[in-house]
């Protein structure tokens, strides 16, 4: 049985959450700002202290070291961080070719990948963060407002891109303000309210 299973996920700040997402499907979570959507994704990725069971296929989160788990379920922040002034320093050498191919499908060029982070727009950074996550080959992608800084044309392109990745078997947990995007990609829909799912 593949897929993402979340059972009794809670912390002092949010939850408990129950959610199941099959391979190749997307769970779209919408809700007002500050309702706990980011917290939810960070808990799945085990970036904040939390309790509960999370599993990808038959791999339980607690049974593997944390970095190992985070490589399987990669969290992409709404405002992604960069640890080097050069864009290319954020990619492993063996991923460089795959990164160019992915970047191009998202409307970016090789020049974006060889430039400096400080020269990129917020939207370009958001798309590069998506590329940076995908070249690591995760089973699940935890996306926090991935289209928040994108114009309409780029949102359409990103949605098509994510739909294609879903067909390849990727699990997506999407947190967004964009109801259209949630309707388009979400096979499972949840609404976040006061740090738990509204029934």
């Amino acid at each position: 049985m593949t897929g993402l299973r979340i059972h009794g996920l809670r912390s002092a700040l949010a939850g408990p959450f129950e959610l199941e997402v099959n391979a190749g499907e997307c769970a779209a979570v919408t809700g007002p700002s500050g309702s706990g959507k980011s917290l939810f994704l960070r808990m799945i990725a085990d970036l904040d202290p939390n309790e509960g069971e999370v599993a990808l296929g038959d791999v339980a989160r607690g049974s593997v070291p944390a970095p190992d788990w985070r490589r399987r379920a990669v969290y992409v922040a709404a405002e992604p961080g960069w640890w080097d002034p050069r864009v290319e320093a954020h990619f492993r050498r063996q991923d460089a070719e795959a990164a160019v191919a992915l970047a191009e499908t998202l409307g970016l060029t090789e020049a974006h990948l060889s430039g400096e982070v400080s020269r990129l727009s917020t939207g370009e950074r958001q798309r590069l963060a998506l590329v940076r996550a995908l070249v690591r080959g995760p089973e699940a992608l935890l996306l926090d407002e991935p289209t928040g800084a994108l114009d309409r044309a780029s949102v359409v392109r990103a949605a098509a891109f994510l739909a294609q990745r879903k067909r390849d078997g990727l699990i997506v947990v999407l947190v967004t303000h964009d109801e259209d995007l949630a309707a388009q990609l979400g096979d499972v829909r949840r609404r976040m309210q006061d740090r738990r799912f509204a029934v």
């Binding site: 990725a45 085990d46 970036l47 904040d48 202290p49 070291p65 944390a66 970095p67 190992d68 788990w69 985070r70 490589r71 399987r72 990669v74 969290y75 992409v76 922040a77 405002e79 992604p80 961080g81 960069w82 640890w83 963060a129 940076r132 996550a133 690591r136």
Partner: protein, 268 residues
């Protein structure tokens, strides 16, 4: 040759310089004379007090008393390391980090010097142990506090970058490697600069003191060289311990970045 001993009138003559400073402050409206007076009084009282305490400790030559004095000095230095950074760990964590760094670096370096290079009999003779520990503590304090300030300030500032690496599956060690290296580098630079400048830009205090006290300048230089090795070694060691211990408190068993354990000091 015996050192020339100072008398009270000698000190009073020199103190006239301070009086002059005070007059200058009043005449030019610097508003420093009150602070100058307090600082002068503190300095005189503190140094005389230390003189009396050390005289007592030396006369007793009791290892337990020597150890007590060294421990009190170490505790004060650890507190200073903990208090300087703008960020601090919740529940006295800074004091634990500062204490671990200051105590381990000072103990290791002092005992090394006393049992191999200086070798008084007994090796814990307070004439040597107390002043040596004191000067090492001063440098260790600097190294540890710069390292702690660097790592705590840096981790708060670089949170997004560090968490981006963690989220991609990099281990905590790798995600914070640049930050730790940077903190260590900053902590070690003062000791390195101090060695480069020694003798040219400044005549180090210990060497000056020993020459005035009648020691042959070359012998005094050798003492100073030994001290420089000890001080540089000790401050690097303190910085390393600080970075390791503080780094461990910034993460947990699941390699998260635990900024929830940090508090920012209120700036006044």
């Amino acid at each position: 040759m015996n050192p020339i001993l100072l008398t009270a009138p000698d000190l009073l003559t020199a103190a006239s310089l301070i009086v002059l400073d005070g007059a200058l402050s009043i005449a030019l409206h610097l508003d420093l004379h009150w602070r100058l007076a307090v600082a002068t009084a503190r300095m005189v009282v503190q140094l005389l007090l230390v003189g009396f305490v050390l005289r007592l400790v030396f006369a007793r030559a009791d290892p337990a008393l020597t150890l007590l004095v060294v421990l009190v000095m170490t505790a004060i230095a650890a507190r200073e390391v903990a208090a300087r950074p703008a960020w601090r760990f919740a529940r006295g964590g800074n004091l634990i980090v500062g204490g671990a760094a200051v105590a381990s670096a000072t103990a290791l370096t002092s005992i090394l010097a006393l049992t191999t290079a200086i070798r008084p009999t007994p090796w814990y003779d307070p004439h040597y142990a107390v002043p040596l520990t004191g000067i090492i503590l001063g440098n260790v304090l600097n190294g540890a506090s710069i390292a702690l300030d660097g790592i705590l300030g840096g981790v708060a500032q670089q949170r997004a970058a560090i968490e981006a690496r963690l989220a991609l599956g990099d281990p905590f060690r790798l995600a914070t490697r640049a930050l730790r290296a940077d903190s260590l580098r900053r902590a070690m630079l003062p000791a390195i600069n101090q060695m480069s400048a020694a003798g040219i830009i400044t005549l180090p205090g210990i060497m000056t003191g020993q020459i005035i006290a009648g020691m042959d300048p070359l012998e005094a230089a050798k003492y100073q060289i030994l001290l420089m090795f000890l001080l540089t070694g000790a401050s690097a060691l303190a910085a390393v311990v600080t970075v390791v211990v503080a780094g461990r408190r910034l993460t947990d068993g699941r390699e998260r970045l635990r900024l929830d354990r940090l508090r920012e000091r209120r700036r006044t």
